[in-house]
Structures are given as C-alpha cells and as structure tokens.
Amino acid sequence: MAETSQGTGGLKFDRNKRTWPNEANVFIALILLIGLFELIGHYRVGQSMLFDFNTNRDGTILNMARIRIIILQVSIIGIIALGVTQVIITGGIDLSSGSVVGMTAMIAMSFALTAEVNGNPNGRAIFLSEVDGQMVPTPWLHDLPVMVPILVGLLIGILAGFINGVFIAYTGIPPFIATLGMMVSARGVANWWSEGNPVSFPTDQYTALANGNLLDTLTFGLFSESWAMQEVFDGQNPAVFFILLAILFHFIMKHTIYGKHTYAIGSNEDAARMSGINVNRQKVLVYAIAGMLAGFAAILLTSKNLTAQSGMGLIYELDAIAMAVIGGVSLSGGRGSILGTVLGAMIFGIIISGFTYLRLDAFYQEIVKGMIIVGAVVLDQWRQRRASNR
C-alpha cells in the first residue's frame, strides 16, 4: 500500500487535502461574529465587548464580567441543547424541553425547600400538613438531603423523555407531534402543580448547586487561591456543568455504541434496522437522555434563581434547537456533533449579549432571536443541498 493511501486499491489519497470538519467553519463564524460586534461596538458605544484594556480590573485584558454573563446565559440552555442535539441526530426533534424544564422546576423545587424561613413557616411550601389546627410545611418532606430533589428532577425529566420516546418509537407518530403534545401537557403540569404560585426558599445545599464553586469542591480546595478559581469558576457552576457534560457526551457520541447507533438511525433508519440495531429501544434511550438533561437544566435554573415558577423554560426548546442547528447539526439527521453545538451555543450567546452591549432594545433581541432560528434552518437546508451537489 502506498504511503499516501489509507484505503484500499491503491487510489491516491492526500491526507493534507482532506475537507475541513464542519466545526471549523462554525468556529470561524464565531470569530467573525465577535469581530463584527467589536467593530460595530467600537463606533456605536465606544468600548470593546469582550476585552478591557484600560482598567485591568480582573487581572486580564478580558472583560470577565461580561464574559461570565454570556457563559452563564448560554450554559443552562446549552445543557438542554446537548440532549436536543442527540435527538436531532436521530432525525427527530424535541419541542418539549422548555416545558419539561418548567414542570421539573416546580416538582423538583418542592422537594428542595426549607421548612422554615427566618423562623417562620415557609409560605411557599407545597407539601403541607395540619399541626395543631394550622397548615405548616410537612416536616419529613422538607430540609431533605440535596440528592432527593436532584433525583426527583432527573427522574421527572427521564420520565417525560421516556414517554416521548415510547410514542415516537412504538406508535410511529412524528416526533414533532409527540413532543408538541408533551410540550403542552408538561406546561399544564407545571401550572397545575402549585396552581400557578411560585415555589421558593430552597436549602443551602440546593442553592449551592448553581451558585457554589463545583470545581473547587471537585479539586478538594487545592486551588482555592488561584486566579481561575476565584475569577472564572466561582458562581459559574452551570457553565462548569455544561462543559463537563459536553465533554462526557462528546465522548459518548463519538466513541460508544450508543453514539454510533444514534448517528446510524439518523443516517438511514432502515439500514440501521436491517443491520440489527434495535432502533426503537435506541430512540427511547435518546429521548429519555434528552429529558434527563432538560430536568438537570431545571435543577440548575431553580437553584440559580432560588425559586421555581411555572413559566420557567418558556421557548427554551427553540433556543436549544437553534444552538444545535447553528452548530451544524442537520435537521434531517445523521450529521452534527456535540462540539458543534457547544460552538453554536457560544454564537447564540454572543449574538444575544451583543445586542445588549450595543445598547439595543430588548425587543430587537427577541426579533433577532426569531430570525436566527429561521436563518439557522435555512442555512441547514442550504448546506444539505450543497452536500448532495458535491
């Protein structure tokens, strides 16, 4: 076999002339976008978006304050997008994740509350029982170990995804319809759970989930004094979780049977079936994992906000889908990656906070968000046509 060949039959293949991975294009788009915002910002508001050359406030030339906000903004929805990415790779879609966040937020938070707030009974508690003729928070359902609300949240998410998956795999209804049903029903559950009232005042442990310093804990406080630990990671747990989960699922999608079968189903479902892949079981698994990630996002969101409201997660599903599609995940399935979605999430974050930075009204933000979502899908269609024209 010739040096240049890594195939068979002796046809020439030049390693150096391989086509770029799609993620490289997304990365370039990210850089260009940042450049564009910096340029417009330079003339419009007279300061940089991501850099801070003057004050040297955080010990870097970066504007850490803004970067932290951007990362925090995208990481919770980014976690949802990790699951949505897998669903889209199977050729499906999940419209329910935003509502599942709302439902999970309400239910998980109900198990995360303290019985007393400043010496008074917690007025935002859900589980009440009568003691001496008075309704007070049920003692054994409050001040629970933090694992309880976490498990409840993950299980609710898994259950919602499992139901999605079972309907899609075994009744053959389109994913669009099945998850649309879940979207409506889960929001219904969220509203019904406390009749629209917020659920608030979680335990310190629960609060620490999103607001503590996970990396510091994980490294046993060895690096507590370091700049990174104090300036970058403190209070950034959602981002830390996002990155850790992204690394985990990147590995899973690229290097495990689960990932390979997910791609195979999106590529050619019949081929996958004929090759002996249990397509139905795999789909259920994928939707359940997407549900679990939405549930986990709800836990972080409520922990961050110290309260759960039934409207939480509204249209997060579209943001998550947009992140994935911007990152090169094809809506027709089979193509895309976790890395792409992470880059897509960053682009999404830059655009959204870029508007704030340019001091444009929040209304514009929403208008543009809608355009990004549609634009990303148009881009996907265009990419597909180009791929099939090659």
Partner: protein
C-alpha cells in the same frame, strides 16, 4: 409436497451438495391486497449456489426480506440449519448465520466504511457499560482493511462517509460487509447491478471463493451470463410465485427466459401460476 426443490429428499439425507441448510414451505407475504409472494417452496443445500431470477416486481426481494426477517411473513414456515425458525428481526437472522446484501444496500450514508461494515456488530471494549460500551475503532479499521483487501475493492479513503462514494463503491462496501464475516448462508440481492466490468468480475470472484469454501449462496440477478457462470441451479419467480426450478446443466438462457416471461411454467408449479 412433491415439488421439493431438489427432488424429494429429506433435509438430513446424503447428497453431493451436502445436507439442506435452508428450506421454506408455503412461504407467503401479502402487502394489504398485494400478493407479493405466494406459497414459495424453496430449498438450498450446504454446498449449493442457487440463483433466483424473475422480472421486476416478481417477488424476489420480498422472498429475501421474509427469510432475513426484515419483514414478518404472512404465512408459511422457514427451516434453517436444523430447526424451524421464527426470527424476530434481521439481527437474529444474522446471528443464526445468514449474511445478506440487500438490494437497497442498507448502508448508513453519514458513517464511514468501518462503521458500516461493523454496524450492529461493533467490536467494543468496556463491555460492562452496556449501551455505552466503547468502540474499538482500531480493531474495526484493521479488520476492514483486511476484508477490503480480500475483495480487491478500490476505496481511496475508508474514513470517508458513504455519502461521498460512487454507486459502485457503495455496493462494494455492502458486499465486503458480508464477505468479511463467515456465515452459514449468504444472500445477495442484485449485487452487481451498479458495478463496472472490473468490479463485477471482482464480485464474481468473491462468489467463486464462497463456492470453493463450500458456503451456500442465494444470488438474485438479472444477468444471465453471470448466473449461468456461477450457480448450480436457477429458480424462477413470476408474479409472486415460483414457476420453475432448473438445474443449470439441464437448461440454457433461452429456456430460462421463457419461464421468466411466462411463456412456460413447469408442470409441478402449474397450480395458480399465470
């Protein structure tokens, strides 16, 4: 039934081509009102290569899909390798030892060559992790190169996705997939339909290798020369029915064509055939 394919032998008796490996009895498949396959009695012996011929829509692929359990048959029985079988799906059929090149190729376009070769039977490590067990890319890649080398297929970069390959290369990948794994029965549904002269010759060589190794093959093909060159016996399908079962040395191209077109039907298949 009198029309036992090779002349009324029981599955376990002596025969120059060895014992029967696969036998279908009254195999029938309806799609709604479409009678795609009717009452098919077919058998093949261990050392035998059998061609199935017939016009488009005659039911050849339908027959394959019932044998390999890609679909569930309407009625009839399938006997394979010593027992009546009720495969739940293609994986079970493959585990039992039936390797198939489907007419639709059954390749995943967005995956590369090793991925496709090993789709559904990946080599893995960390097997305690269940569905999250780790793929052994290195081993699969090595075995892929080995397998392709054997078939002399030209593929410049096996890490390319199937999407970017020519029709012939795709077909080669599908064939290499069955040739790489040892099986008790190989089925190829129009394996050379999209291939050039050289590639066709290569596939025919693979088939000859199978014959020498004494491995049975069901070959579906419209190519009369190929069929006459390669197989021991020709079974003709017409409108969902078997209409002829011809030993190669007792027939010729013209004869076969007359069965395909409906000019003739063997007497024992007269019932219901049109």
């Amino acid at each position: 039934m009198a029309n036992n394919a090779s002349g009324g032998h029981l599955p376990h008796d002596m025969h120059p081509l060895g014992p029967v490996i696969l036998k279908s009895t009254a195999l029938t498949k309806h799609y709604g009102g479409v009678y795609a396959l009717n009452d098919a009695n077919f058998e093949i012996r261990k050392g035998e290569h059998v061609a199935i011929m017939g016009d488009n829509g005659a039911g050849k692929s339908t027959f394959v899909r019932q044998i390999t359990a890609v679909e569930q048959r309407t009625s009839g029985t399938i006997w394979f390798d010593g027992r009546d079988v009720e495969f739940e799906g293609p994986l079970e059929a493959r585990k039992a030892g039936i390797e198939t090149v489907f007419q639709t190729l059954a390749l995943a376009d967005d995956l590369d060559v090793p991925d496709n070769l090993f789709l559904g039977r990946e080599i893995t490590r960390w097997n305690f992790l269940g569905p999250f067990r780790r793929l052994d890319y290195k081993a699969m890649r090595a075995k892929t190169l080995e397998g392709l080398e054997k078939t002399a297929v030209k593929i410049p970069n096996i890490n390319n996705t199937i999407r970017n390959m020519s029709g012939g290369q795709r077909q080669c990948v599908a064939i290499a997939r069955t040739a790489t794994f040892h099986s008790k029965l190989t089925i190829m549904d129009e394996p050379t339909a999209a291939l050039g002269v050289q590639e066709t010759a290569q596939v025919e060589n693979i088939i000859r290798t199978l014959k020498e190794a004494g491995e049975p093959l069901i070959l579906i093909s419209h190519n009369m020369r190929q069929v006459m060159d390669l197989v021991d016996r020709i079974v003709v399908f017409r409108r969902g029915r078997i209409v002829a079962n011809l030993k190669k040395e007792e027939t010729d191209g013209e004869d076969v064509v007359s069965y395909i077109t409906g000019a003739r039907t063997q007497p024992e298949y007269e019932v219901g055939a049109t």
